[in-house]
Amino acid sequence: MAIITKSYEPTFWDKLYFPALFKGLMVTLRYFFKRKVTIQYPEEKYIPPDGYRGLHRLNKYSDGRIRCVACEMCSAACPVDCIHIIPGPSPWDEGKERYPVRFDIDLLRCIFCGFCEMACPEEAIELTEIYDFSDLTRENLLIDRDGLLEVYELTKNKNYYSQTKKSEKSET
């Protein structure tokens, strides 16, 4: 059984309630006139800093070749085993080099730890700042090679979110 004893004795001043109430209200009142800290999310996007660990992308060289050589270092480093690669001879260099015929990432399993981008010797796989890629079906969250390359096009030069803002402005 718990010890139930009362030792707290409020003073007369405490019992009035008003001083405490007033003190608290002073704090809140001061904030009433201050700048807001909230973001109106779906309309206004939060812009993450560089190096944010969001959706993956597969990088390309400037001539369009895929950087990835299908060495499978990333899938070995992945703690949840969510990268699946099928290597094959590349369509360039007469097939001397390897390249990923399939490169699937199960985003539902991915924990966005960043081990894959640190393990990659070719700096081919990278995590981008895109964070709002939720979807309604599981199939849509299995991203394949072309999807990953598309993400690269979206985030190549500019921050995805500040870029969308710019294009929205030009449309209106």
């Binding site: 139930i4 009362k6 704090v27 660990r53």
Partner: protein, 373 residues
């Protein structure tokens, strides 16, 4: 208590209840509104952490430690890497040690802010919760700037860190501390010394020191009962012995020693102490040093075992690692502070009213991710 005994009723609180702080089910026996027994049912968030660790390599364990106490991921990382480094006898560079301490203390502030805010919310104070989340957000922003994630960092690695501090981190940390220090006074005005809050928490859920010790309660909950025990002070790991800080303990200022208010106040005062450590660490931190320098190429600890404990915001977090010389842990056991804190709930919660049990649970600051693992 009353002499008239009605029929006892069994009630379920949770698993989906905002004041159980996660998915926890409490089965309470009530007589009217007086609680006569509390039985916590856990396991809704069980993810086989320990068993899972036996199937991944040592470095791959780190993202999973993040997910145990998800409100203090840095502290969990810290506990694991400190244990691993002792097992492998790695000495990390000074700069790494300093960055780790800075991160751990920032995390302590962030975690306490959430604990205090949700505790206030449990007893009916909504505004402080919003203010505390606003300030916590600034810490999360700094973490995000450093390692790219807001909650689950995977930042501290065995032998080093995943990233060095970004440019301007030290300045922004100082700016945050200057901003945050006066805020503690504000919290005092709006919550700690608020009459209504004191009425709800003083004398409620008294945990005497001997009960706390016999249940293995640690961290701020133990210190709230007046026991001066802080692993950072009493068994220093990393470089905590270099800093000058106090260990705040409860003194029963508003009621009995070891009540909810004391536990609350210990956390609040501890944030001030963390600020002290942070200021010292941020001034002393060496300007350069490679954070990847001592990261081993292949983590293969020698045969043997280690038990190492560290002080997380919730208390005494221990990692017991048995290595058989392979790159995969043979056995990994985690001693979690929130688990022991929950076990004491029945002892200190009996005899109180239902609404007080919510306050007691809030004051214990449990995280279900860590209890269930």
């Amino acid at each position: 208590m009353g002499v008239v005994h009605g029929q006892e009723m069994v009630l379920n609180i949770g698993p989906q209840h905002p004041s159980t702080h996660g998915v926890l089910r409490l089965q309470v026996k009530t007589d009217g509104e007086i609680i006569s027994e509390i039985k916590p049912f856990i396991g809704y968030l069980h993810r086989c952490f320990e068993k899972h660790c036996e199937n991944v390599t040592y470095e791959q364990v780190i993202p999973f430690t993040d997910r145990c106490d998800y409100l203090a991921s840095m502290a969990n990382n810290f506990g694991y890497v400190v244990a691993m480094e002792e097992l492998m006898e790695i000495k990390v560079p000074e700069r790494v040690e300093y960055i780790r301490v800075i991160m751990a203390e920032l995390q302590r502030i962030a975690s306490h802010l959430l604990a205090l805010g949700t505790f206030g919310l449990d007893v009916g104070a909504f505004t402080p919760f919003l203010y505390m989340f606003r300030d916590r957000e600034r810490i999360l922003d700094m973490f995000e700037m450093t390692c790219g994630a807001r909650l689950l960092y995977n930042y501290m690695w065995v032998g080093g860190l995943s990233h060095d501090l970004p440019i301007g981190f030290v300045e922004s940390a100082f700016r945050f501390l200057d901003y945050f220090e006066p805020k503690i006074e504000e919290y005092n005005n709006i919550l700690t010394y608020n009459k209504i809050f004191i009425e709800r928490t003083a004398d409620v859920g008294v945990m005497p020191a001997d009960v706390a010790i016999s249940y293995g309660v640690s961290g701020p909950n133990l210190r709230g009962s007046g026991v001066k025990w802080d692993i950072r002070k009493d068994e220093p790991y990393s470089i905590y012995d270099r800093f000058d800080f106090d260990v705040p303990v409860g003194i029963g200022e508003k009621g009995n020693l070891g009540d909810c208010w004391d536990r609350f106040n210990v956390r609040l005062t501890e944030m001030g102490e963390s600020i002290k450590i942070l200021r010292q660490a941020l001034t002393q931190i060496p300007k350069n040093g490679d954070v990847h320098q001592t990261i081993p190429k292949k983590i293969r600890p020698p045969k043997g075992s280690i038990y190492k404990r560290t002080e997380t915001p919730r208390g005494d977090l221990g990692f017991y690692i048995i290595s058989d010389g392979s790159p995969i842990p043979n056995r990994l056991k985690m001693r979690s502070p929130a688990f022991t804190a929950l076990s004491v709930l029945d002892e200190i919660g009996r005899g109180w009213m239902l609404s007080d049990v919510i306050a007691i649970l809030g004051s214990l600051d449990i995280v279900l991710g860590e209890i269930d693992r």
